[in-house]
């Protein structure tokens, strides 16, 4: 068995009476892309927040790079390379594009990020053109690129993305997934939460299906798609 970069073991998240994540276990090997699929309210976002440290877990453990990080706060997790691209992009709209990127590197206090920012701008000439403009004026696609770029500046080991394709046109979704593939090739491990199961399974190495807080299936995209009942219920197959 390969050594896991991230192991989530039987974690539970509860909001009052709502048991959002039930005994969920998953793991992510170095260099992998895994995806967590499921409908609205399946507990996908809660799972990511628990891993990122902004949501408390009731029981279970999260092991990252062989360390139990249950007691770490969100800032420490970011610093050590667990970075989340939140749902709905959530860029800082009254800051400029460049300031958004600076915020990405916030946890790297004394790092010289001039080169990294230039590399981002090389990758996304549109962002470069608007570097001194308010992020509010960006289009939806550009905002998503900025959200991913901002996360890249935090120097992630694992990048977690919460429904990044939400609200994007099919062409932009395709570009986004290509971008995710690219940054994965550059060495980042990816944990992708999606409702766009078709695209997610095309790019992921493995997938998990979450239903009402439980993991009901997991495996390679081929395995998941081969399960007729599963495909029909969750994966948009027929």
């Amino acid at each position: 068995m390969t050594i896991m970069l991230l192991s989530v073991e039987k974690i539970n998240v509860r909001y009052g009476r709502n048991h959002a994540v039930k005994n969920v276990s998953l793991n992510l090997a170095d260099g992998e892309i895994i995806t967590v699929l499921g409908a609205n309210g399946a507990g996908k976002s809660s799972l990511l927040k628990a891993i990122q440290g902004t949501e408390k877990i009731e029981s279970g453990s999260i092991i990252y790079e062989d360390k139990d990080i249950n007691r770490w706060g969100a800032p420490k997790r970011v610093q050590s390379g667990l970075v989340l691209v939140p749902e709905g992009r959530q860029i800082f709209i009254s800051m400029t594009v460049e300031e958004n990127l600076l915020m990405g590197a916030y946890s790297r206090k004394n790092a010289d990020i001039t080169n990294e920012i230039e590399m981002i701008f090389e990758r996304f000439p549109n962002l470069k053109e608007r570097r001194n403009m308010l992020a509010a004026v960006l289009s939806g696609g550009e905002q998503q690129m900025l959200a991913v770029s901002r996360a890249l500046l935090a120097k992630p080991t694992i990048m977690m993305l919460d429904e990044p394709s939400l609200g994007l046109s099919p062409i932009l979704v395709k570009q986004l997934f290509e971008l995710i593939k690219d940054i994965n090739t550059e060495g980042l491990s990816i944990l992708l939460v999606e409702q766009n199961t078709h695209m997610a399974l095309q790019y992921a190495d493995r997938g998990y299906v979450l239903e009402l807080g439980n993991i009901v299936a997991s495996g390679t995209p081929a395995d998941l798609l081969a399960d007729k009942k599963l495909a029909k219920a969750y994966l948009g197959g027929d």
């Binding site: 990122q52 902004t54 969100a74 800032p75 970011v78 610093q79 970075v83 989340l84 939140p86 959530q90 800082f92 709209i93 009254s94 800051m95 400029t96 300031e99 600076l102 915020m103 990405g104 916030y106 946890s107 996304f124 000439p125 549109n126 053109e129 608007r130 001194n132 403009m133 308010l134 004026v137 960006l138 289009s139 696609g141 550009e142 690129m145 901002r150 935090a154 932009l172 570009q175």
Partner: protein
């Protein structure tokens, strides 16, 4: 300089300092309707420490900083309950704080209660003007720092700021405390200009005006409170001057009504305040490229 002009500049300076005291927390997303409370604490602390007759008679080089620091300390302690609230509830909490401060001071016989308290050390602009300049520079500097960036990120989205490693609680407490410090500073300076302080000077109307300076000026840039305070200080005077020159009643007796109309108009036309970042770009750069390109 005429006494009238000096008077206007004194009021302008005090308005600018108190505007920054509300602006800095506002830049971090906190709406503060408690300016009066901090002003009272600063003014009375300084007056009691410096007054020769009824106070301790200490030199103002000591009492003004001590009064501001003491107000900052009160602000620091108050920030813990107040920062549990948000938005409109925070407005109510800070308002309640100011009312409590006023109530306590009104009933403190040692500082004169309802009859006010005399301030024996008088200063002219030689103290107020340099302090105001320093406060403005400090406001600009703070916003440009890493701390300032984190304040603005909290203003936009507290949860995402946390995601990128901002210690949001610390930054919020810091912004509130610095605001209180500046409010206390404005209060302390006020006494030495007008030689007499009373709680009734700083009621709810005062706090509303200061919050308006900031909101009308704009919370996005440190130009906002400066422009907002100037706007609020000069417009009524300009209206008065126009009225005196033309004899039109609208500008003299009704100038505050006309002023109200201007404020409502500003809120409709520029809800983000006068000094938005886009406006600054227009001022300092020739043009802004249009956003019509989709993706590469």
């Amino acid at each position: 300089m005429s006494a009238y002009m000096t008077g206007i500049i004194i009021i302008l300076c005090l308005n600018i300092i108190i505007a920054y005291s509300v602006f800095l927390p506002a830049a971090a997303g906190q709406l503060n309707l408690g300016a009066a409370g901090f002003m009272i604490i600063g003014a009375y602390t300084d007056a009691y420490l410096s007054s020769a007759d009824e106070g301790l008679g200490l030199p103002i080089a000591l009492t003004i900083p001590v009064a501001a620091l003491f107000t900052g300390l009160v602000g620091f302690l108050m920030s813990f309950p107040i920062l549990r609230t948000r938005g409109v509830y925070m407005i109510l909490a800070t308002f309640a704080f100011a009312e409590i401060v006023a109530g306590i001071v009104l009933n403190m016989e040692i500082v004169g209660g309802a009859s006010g308290f005399p301030v024996t050390t008088h200063t002219e602009l030689e103290v107020l003007l340099p302090v105001t300049v320093v406060v403005v520079l400090f406001g600009f500097y703070l916003i440009s720092t890493r701390f300032g960036l984190s304040m603005r990120s909290i203003h936009d989205d507290e949860n995402v700021s946390l995601l990128f490693g901002v210690n949001t609680h610390l930054v919020k407490v810091g912004a509130f405390t610095i605001g209180a410090f500046l409010g206390g500073l404005a209060g302390a300076l006020y006494g030495h200009q007008f030689d007499y302080i009373e709680v009734q000077n700083w009621g709810i109307l005062f706090s509303i005006y200061v919050l308006l300076y900031v909101l009308i000026g704009g919370t996005q840039t440190p130009w906002g409170p400066l422009v907002g305070a100037m706007f609020f200080t000069f417009i009524p005077e300009i209206l008065r001057a126009i009225g005196d020159a033309t004899g039109i009643e609208l500008f003299t007796e009704l100038r505050f009504a006309a002023f109200g109309v201007i404020i409502v108009g500003m809120m409709v036309l520029r809800p983000e305040g006068i000094m938005t970042r886009t406006f600054l770009e227009l001022l300092f750069r020739k043009s802004i490229p249009k956003s019509n390109i989709k993706l590469s």
